[in-house]
Each structure stands twice: as structure tokens, then as C-alpha cells.
């Protein structure tokens, strides 16, 4: 029974990586507008994510190098504010200068709102950040996303000042 579960899990891993290897190519030409179909929605929002990198663990990502470029968000919003655009330009530039580095974009929310929705909102912030970087010509196959919802505040306090620092997307360099 156990081995059946294991082999099913292995099969699932293979399937997801097969799907991903196709997507890596598509993401590689992201700037040219080669997106999967999505009737009635902006193509950017339907672009498949690159597969998880074998053996990489986002827990071990280095968030220090790009710490100056943590993108902040308004309450309950995943829109990129104009004031944050220079940070994204800086991340895109860094990616060009470090062409082998893979980045994980970690989306977070403040403690207000509910647990499950905040998991989704955190991911949506990471995706909005990713979409913006793709628009700047960044290589999508090097841009993973992860959400932590409200689980990992930057400032563990209940105040508007803390909340504003916690509504963020941080770029980490994967080992």
C-alpha cells in the first residue's frame, strides 16, 4: 500500500515536471506575448508557473540581498503601486546581471482578514509582482512564487505601521 502511494507520488512529480518543461519554453518567450489561452482575461494572468526547482527549498532562500526592494501593497490589494515600480526595475536589473540566479517571490499579508483568504491574497501579490517583472522582460522560468498568507509577518505587532510593512512581496534568491 505504502509503495503504491509512493509510486503515485513519483508519477505526480513526473507529470508536473513534464508540464513544466513545456512551460519553461513558453515563459522564456514571455515578453513576446506567447501565453496560454484564456477567454476574456488578460493573457498575463493565465501564464503557467514554472515548476518547482528540484531539491530547492524556499525556506533556505536568501532574502537579504534584495531586501531594499521589498514591494509593499495597500490593504486588501494586489495592485503594484507607482511608488514601488523602481524596486521592481531594480529586481529586473539584478536578474539581468545575475543571469543564472533563480528568484522566489514570497507574498505576504497583514494579520487582518481571514487565514485562508490571506493565503490566496499573498499568492496573488507574488503573481502580480511576477507579472510586472515579466512585463519588464524578466525570464519567467527563473521566477517562482510562494505565499505565506499572514503566517510570517515582518513586524509582529498589531498596528497600522506594522501592517503596512507586512503587506509585501519579498524577492529571495534560491540556493
Amino acid at each position: 500500500m505504502k509503495s503504491t502511494i509512493l509510486s503515485l507520488a513519483a508519477l505526480a512529480v513526473c507529470l508536473s515536471f513534464t508540464a513544466c518543461s513545456k512551460n519553461v519554453k513558453r515563459d522564456g518567450t514571455a515578453g513576446d506575448g506567447t501565453y496560454s489561452s484564456g477567454a476574456g482575461t488578460d493573457g498575463l494572468y493565465n501564464q503557467s508557473l514554472p515548476g518547482r526547482i528540484d531539491g530547492s527549498n524556499p525556506e533556505l532562500a536568501n532574502y537579504d540581498t534584495l531586501q531594499a526592494y521589498v514591494v509593499l501593497f495597500d490593504f486588501n490589494s494586489f495592485s503594484i503601486n507607482a511608488a514601488e515600480r523602481s524596486k521592481l526595475n531594480a529586481i529586473a536589473k539584478w536578474m539581468t546581471e545575475n543571469s543564472s540566479a533563480k528568484i522566489v517571490l514570497a507574498g505576504h499579508t497583514d494579520a487582518r482578514g481571514t487565514t485562508q483568504y490571506n493565503v490566496g491574497l499573498g499568492e496573488r501579490r507574488a503573481l502580480a509582482t511576477r507579472d510586472y517583472l515579466l512585463g519588464l522582460g524578466a525570464d519567467g522560468s527563473r521566477l517562482m512564487t510562494i505565499t505565506y498568507g499572514e503566517e510570517r509577518p515582518a513586524v509582529a505587532e498589531e498596528s497600522e505601521a506594522a501592517y503596512s510593512q507586512n503587506r509585501r512581496c519579498a524577492a529571495g534568491i534560491l540556493p
Partner: protein
């Protein structure tokens, strides 16, 4: 339903008609054809509980009293004032329970086995069912999250707070546990691998399997009523959308297509429809979509931040939490009429979860878990000896 329950229902119909009515919703009737009106008992039944005799009489009496008191359906009083008399004998293994009305007519005379505590809960459930016509909930289990150890771990307990058992010890983050309908499996979201994945625990052997680990987020799993599917949020295709996967594994089927965030799916009891949260129109609101595919319909609820939907087992209601003035309140809406009822009034009240009787709800407030009667609004704290409790979910 017993004659007793029928009489009680008729007596209290007026009470239900003048229940809080705020807003009206237009919902396509065929979509919610499975919705049935529930029995509403707002009066309390006067019962007398003679201390149970036998070697475990004292402990069993306390458990039985608590089981009956937490519902808000009974008023425990003297034998003279009561219409129902409860007696019994408790040993370590079993309970012999007798329930009669004032005239001596026997309503229950039965022996319950399987250990005194479990037997007491079974006796309590039968009392509730015979006297009110609705299922008892004392034999329900509750799965929940506690961060007492410093990280969010999953636990399970009896609904009265006893028999707490820690299910995970991952020192990661585990959230959103939900039972399968049979109560033998729990689906949840965990960052154990480093990424947010969906896992299932099989309670028979405590084995765990990771059922969804696509790129991006895998979160908010909910078993379909027949157990064959799990609804969840995935972002693998570039946006956070609702999908279903086969519970045993398999490729996902996409249900939504929007620019916003979709989260927290909950199933109608017939498995045809899912209610969920979407912020596609700016703020999080509740929508429904047919499993077979349909244009999502918004549930018209008068609140700008509405999340955490939970469809009642009888199909008649959806509970949710609304955010107003920086606080969170527990509410529910009738599927048939759209009538919205706000149940709590202060504090941050989160994660409503219906129990099997479609009348009582569990929720979390300030790290504690509560049982809430959606009719009388009686709120009872569930003392489980743990701190930092969130996200309760009851077996059905």
C-alpha cells in the same frame, strides 16, 4: 420526528418568523433545489437529570450535563418543574440510560457501550434526537489548529474539549483542517515541504499523503460530500483559481477564470455546487459555481469583506464571517430567502463551521474555540487546555 418535537416546533414557529431579517438575495431556485427548511426550536425543554448511579456515575453525570447544556436546547431543572426525566447507571465501559416523560411514558431505555465517555455522548445524542427531532452533536469530533507550541499544528478532540490529541508535529505551518464527510480523513494546507501543499491525514492509521503540490499555491482543500474529489485553490496556471482534483490524485479540473483571488471552497451537500470567496470585484465576496461548470453567481450579502463560507449539512444555509470596523462577525444566510443573520456582535470572530445538526456552529475568537447556537445565539467556550486555537472544523 416525535410528537413532542412536532408540538415544540409548532409552538415556536412564530419565533422563527420574527427572526432577524436584514437583506434579500435573488438566487436561481434550481441551483439550490436541495435546500430544505430546518426545524427551528427556540424554546428550551425543561429536563431533570438525576445523578447517574454506578461506578462512573459522577463523571458521566458531569459529561452528560455539559453535553446537554452546551446546546442551549434544554433547561436543567427540578423533577417537579421538568417535563422530561433522565436517569441512568454508568460503569467504566457503558451507560444504561432511561428517559421518561412526566406521565412515566418511556422515551429511551437503552444501554450504550464503548467506554463510559463515548457511551455518555451517545446517550446525550439520542436524548437530543428523540426530544428535538434534530441530530445530537456530542459524538462529533473537532479538528483545529493550535500554535501553543510556537508553530501551527493540527489537533483533534471531542466537541466538549476532551480527548485532545496532537496530529502533527512538523514545526512548520499547518492550517485549514477539514474532515471528510465520513470523518475518517482530514485535508489541510501545510508548508512542511517548504511550499504550501495540500495533505490528507488518514485517521485510521495516522498516515499522511501529499495530494497536491503544483507550482505556486495549493491551499484550502475541502472534500466533496461523496469523498471522491477535493476542491482547492491552485495558482499553477498563473492565477489563484478554484479547481477540483480526485482525492486519490489526478489532474486538476479548473472551475473559475478571473483576475482576482479565489479561496475557501465549500460544497453543497448534494455535491453539485461550490460556494467560495473571490475578490474579483475588488473586495472578497461569496460566489457559487456549479461543479459541472457555470458562470459564477454572487451571493448578495451586505458586507464588503465576506470570507470563510461553510455550507450547512442540510443545504439550507451558508455561514461566513464578515469584516466591519476592524472586527469580524459570524453570520449566515438562508439559501431559500437570502435572509442574513449576524450572530456575534463584538471581537474578532472567525472560521464558522456547521456541526451536523445544521443549527450549531463552531468558531474561533481570540485564540479560543466556541460553540454557537444559530437560533438562540448562546455561545459556549470549549475548554481544551490549549492556547492560540484557530480554524475549528466539526465532523458531521
Amino acid at each position: 420526528m416525535t410528537t413532542f418535537a412536532k408540538n415544540l416546533t409548532r409552538k415556536t414557529m412564530l419565533g422563527s418568523l420574527i427572526a432577524f431579517s436584514f437583506f434579500y438575495t435573488v438566487i436561481s431556485p434550481e441551483l439550490f433545489a436541495q435546500a430544505k427548511p430546518d426545524i427551528v426550536v427556540t424554546g428550551r425543554i425543561d429536563i431533570a437529570l438525576t445523578n447517574l448511579s454506578g461506578s462512573n456515575g459522577s463523571a458521566a453525570t458531569n459529561v452528560l450535563k455539559n453535553d446537554l447544556n452546551m446546546l442551549g436546547l434544554f433547561n436543567i431543572t427540578t423533577a417537579n418543574a421538568a417535563t422530561i426525566l433522565i436517569k441512568g447507571t454508568a460503569t467504566a465501559d457503558s451507560i444504561q440510560g432511561t428517559v421518561t416523560d412526566k406521565n412515566g411514558t418511556v422515551i429511551i431505555n437503552q444501554t450504550f457501550t464503548g467506554g463510559w465517555r463515548k457511551a455518555t455522548h451517545q446517550f446525550a445524542d439520542m436524548i437530543v434526537e428523540k426530544l428535538t427531532g434534530t441530530p445530537g452533536i456530542a459524538t462529533s469530533s473537532v479538528t483545529f489548529v493550535s500554535a501553543q507550541t510556537g508553530t501551527k499544528e493540527l489537533y483533534i478532540m471531542d466537541i466538549d474539549g476532551a480527548n485532545v490529541r496532537q496530529l502533527t508535529n512538523d514545526k512548520s505551518t499547518n492550517i485549514g483542517p477539514k474532515f471528510s464527510k465520513e470523518g475518517n480523513q482530514i485535508a489541510y494546507t501545510s508548508w512542511k515541504s517548504g511550499y504550501p501543499d495540500v495533505w490528507v491525514i488518514d485517521l485510521a492509521n495516522n498516515n499522511r499523503r501529499r495530494v497536491s503540490f503544483y507550482p505556486g499555491v495549493n491551499s484550502g482543500p475541502a472534500f466533496s460530500p461523496d469523498g471522491s474529489l477535493i476542491a482547492l485553490t491552485l495558482s499553477k496556471d498563473g492565477n489563484t483559481e478554484l479547481y477540483t482534483i480526485a482525492a486519490g490524485g489526478g489532474s486538476p479540473t479548473r472551475l473559475t477564470r478571473s483576475r482576482g483571488t479565489e479561496a475557501s471552497p465549500t460544497w453543497s451537500p448534494d455535491g453539485s455546487t461550490l460556494a467560495y470567496v473571490s475578490d474579483d470585484r475588488g473586495t472578497p465576496q461569496l460566489f457559487t459555481v456549479l461543479l459541472a461548470g457555470s458562470t459564477p453567481q454572487r451571493l448578495k450579502i451586505s458586507a464588503s469583506y465576506t470570507t470563510e463560507p461553510d455550507w450547512s449539512p442540510d443545504g439550507a444555509k451558508i455561514a461566513y464571517s464578515i469584516q466591519a470596523a476592524g472586527q469580524n462577525q459570524i453570520s449566515f444566510s438562508s439559501i431559500a430567502t437570502g435572509e442574513q443573520t449576524v450572530l456575534t456582535s463584538s471581537g474578532t470572530n472567525e472560521t464558522p463551521s456547521w456541526t451536523r445538526n445544521s443549527r450549531h456552529l463552531l468558531f474561533a475568537r481570540a485564540g479560543k474555540l466556541y460553540l454557537l447556537d444559530s437560533v438562540s445565539r448562546q455561545t459556549t467556550a470549549i475548554e481544551n487546555g490549549l492556547t492560540r486555537n484557530t480554524e475549528p472544523n466539526a465532523s458531521r
